[in-house]
């Protein structure tokens, strides 16, 4: 499975995953089991989820799910186009949680609504935000990847600028979070 060599890499994502690769891989090739190995999971926010779901070797199976090629190609085309659609869907990952979520940024009017929603979704608390010190009072910090591929602290830019440049969200934990908040972006 190759997780031992990958686990030590500095990556922003679940161990053993690379989202862009997933989308481009040929249908018949096998991909790694996405479940994180026990030693990389500190505190699974979702209780016992890895035991509940039947472990199936998640090979990228030919012709599954059963969607016509035309429709499949259309979806892939949409993903590579810029999102000017009705919703702005971005993926949200949280360090330690085995599953990502997807949210529609259009549903929120500002940062406080967004952060509240994230707290509910992942069952945690975000600290107090200050421009100088970032998020204090909790071991979590919400970050996002912008159009240029840089990881920024959520809240640093005006809301409208944020939703038009945010590609994905990651709730960082522990020292990495502290490092980001104190480096004064």
């Amino acid at each position: 499975m190759g997780t031992t060599s990958v686990a030590t890499e500095l990556r922003l994502g679940l161990p053993g995953t690379d989202d862009h690769q997933m989308e481009e891989q040929a249908l018949s090739s096998v991909r790694n089991n996405k479940r994180p190995s026990p030693d990389t999971v500190d505190d699974c926010g979702v209780q016992g989820k890895s035991e509940e779901v039947t472990p199936v070797a998640k090979a990228q199976i030919v012709g599954w799910p059963p969607i016509r090629s035309y429709r499949k190609n259309n979806l892939q085309q949409k993903k590579s186009e810029s999102d000017i659609g009705a919703g702005i869907f971005v993926k949200v990952s949280m360090d330690g949680a085995p599953y990502l979520r997807k949210i529609d940024l259009k549903l929120y009017n500002g940062y406080s609504e967004l952060l509240k929603a994230l707290e509910n979704m992942f069952k945690f608390t975000i600290g107090e935000y200050s421009e100088r010190e970032g998020y204090k009072g909790s071991e979590f910090a919400p970050t996002y990847e912008d159009k240029d591929g840089d990881w920024m602290l959520v809240g640093d830019v005006p809301w409208d600028m944020f939703i038009s440049s945010c590609k994905r969200l990651r709730i960082m934990k522990g020292s990495e979070a502290r490092g980001l908040t104190s480096c004064g972006l």
């Binding site: 679940l14 995953t17 989202d19 997933m22 989308e23 249908l27 996405k34 509940e52 779901v53 039947t54 199936v56 998640k58 990228q60 199976i61 030919v62 012709g63 599954w64 799910p65 059963p66 969607i67 016509r68 090629s69 035309y70 429709r71 499949k72 259309n74 979806l75 949409k78 993903k79 186009e81 000017i84 659609g85 009705a86 919703g87 869907f89 993926k91 085995p98 599953y99 990502l100 979520r101 997807k102 529609d104 259009k106 549903l107």
Partner: protein
Amino acid sequence: MQSMESTRSTRSLSFPDKVLHRVFTHLTSNEDRNSVSLVCKTWYNADRLSRSKVSIRNCYSVSPEILVRRFPNVRCVTLKGKPRFSDFNLVPPDWGADVHAWLVAFADKYPLLEELSLKRMVVSDESLEFLAFSFPDFKRLSLLSCDGFTTDGLEAIASYCKNLTEFDIQENGVEDTSGSWLSYFLESFTSLEVLNFANLSSEVDFDALERLVSRCKSLKVLKVNRSVSLEQLQKLLVLAPQLVELGTGSFSQEFSAHQFVDLESCFSSCKNIQSLSGLCDATARYLPAIYPACANLTFLNLSYSAMGSDELDELLMHCPCLQRLWVLDTVGDKGLEAVGSNCPLLEELRVFPSDPFDDDTIQGVTEAGFLAVSFGCPRLHYVLYFCQQMTNAAVATIVQNCPDFTHFRLCIMNPRQPDYLTNEPMDEAFGAVVKTCTKLQRLSVSGLLTDLAFEYIGKHAKNLEVLSIAFAGSSDRGMQCVMEGCPKIRKLEIRDCLFGDAALLSGLDKYESMRSLWMSSCNLTMDGCRLLAKKMPRLNVEVIQEDESDDSEADKVYVYRTVAGPRKDSPPSVFTL
């Protein structure tokens, strides 16, 4: 009494043929036609001479020669070719189903051919040209899920079919070389009623399209592709307010209030719209422009539009007559709640996955959405539902709310996934479906399933005609239950199940009354298939052997009844045993 009866029967025998033909023309269903042809020789002849429409649902079940010999006066033909799983890349591209030999036979015997509908056939540009030249009366062409042609072939149709009324190109593997084919329709050509090129990708010659729409006053169906902008769409709507079915192109652009008002007024004049599709990239800003045209809408296809729950809710409030709805799972459970609240007349729902290959994101719809629809839409009888999680209890409630299901296609996208709350197999879910929905004709199962699910199906699904199974069953007994229990089964498609030769052979008595059987990645051996072929000589038992895997295993098997014998056009990877 008796003498009267015998007089009556002699009278019917001397019924003039013309009258019989006349009576038979009122029989439109092929089933009825097939039944009357079995009554006696006179009726058989009357049927064969008066039949103008034939539907061949497996192009290898009969040969062109046999067809034209039996039915000399056909004007409309439907031909279906490849097994359905070819849509999902399970069938090699050179497998067969080339339409050309049929066209050659038709050119000879059916010079007055008017209509051709092809599904999953291979159609080359040469064939399209041949078609355009051979049939001066040709009116209606429909290509669905076909491949092998380019837009060059479409040019030939546009140029030479002077009486064309329907041109419907849907979801095909078309090589789109240019959009200029539209300009090949002559300026004198005005008969078009149906034009669907929604799935072609290249930019079309808009001027040519505009002129075409302007002079075809009987145009009822227009479905354009994404290259047609909102501004261009407006121009078309002004020219064709009589449209009954509309497929838009791209539905977004730089917003301007003025533009919105114009667009809205365009839609207001379209009083006859019953079906709406496209709406690609529809933004919340422009979507309300279509509301005035939705009063009589019965079919709404949003499956190419990543809509959110709020947009959907508002839109549905303007569609009181909606009967059929196709959406992407971006609408979420919340969007489906809106469906339940706003669409009491809903009969059909299809929810497609927007991100089917990403299974570490919790997204899309769940059992909650399906439940919400079932509570609000008691007339629901057709569903296609892709989801990441489901429970037995939810399905049981759903079918209680909607007992009239005729088509129940549930796809839990993670193979072999159990009920996510109880961790049990999904057997009881499908058990509930077949016990409650006595009218069930088509069923697709998914999730973790043992033989019990198939016991239920065999015992209760007495009207089942089409069954699709993937990653299921615990032994041969599963398939056996189906073969022995479902009297009306016509099409059975199975992939990645552990059914073996014993299961295959349990259906010996059934296969001749079925259209076809597909089994791939199961436990079949060449010996088992050979035995089947030997015992049932009127079946074609085809094995597709693509790579150099074990010669004794039969990885892909396709069995179908035929009066044409083994086919002569098999590629090297296909063996008819």
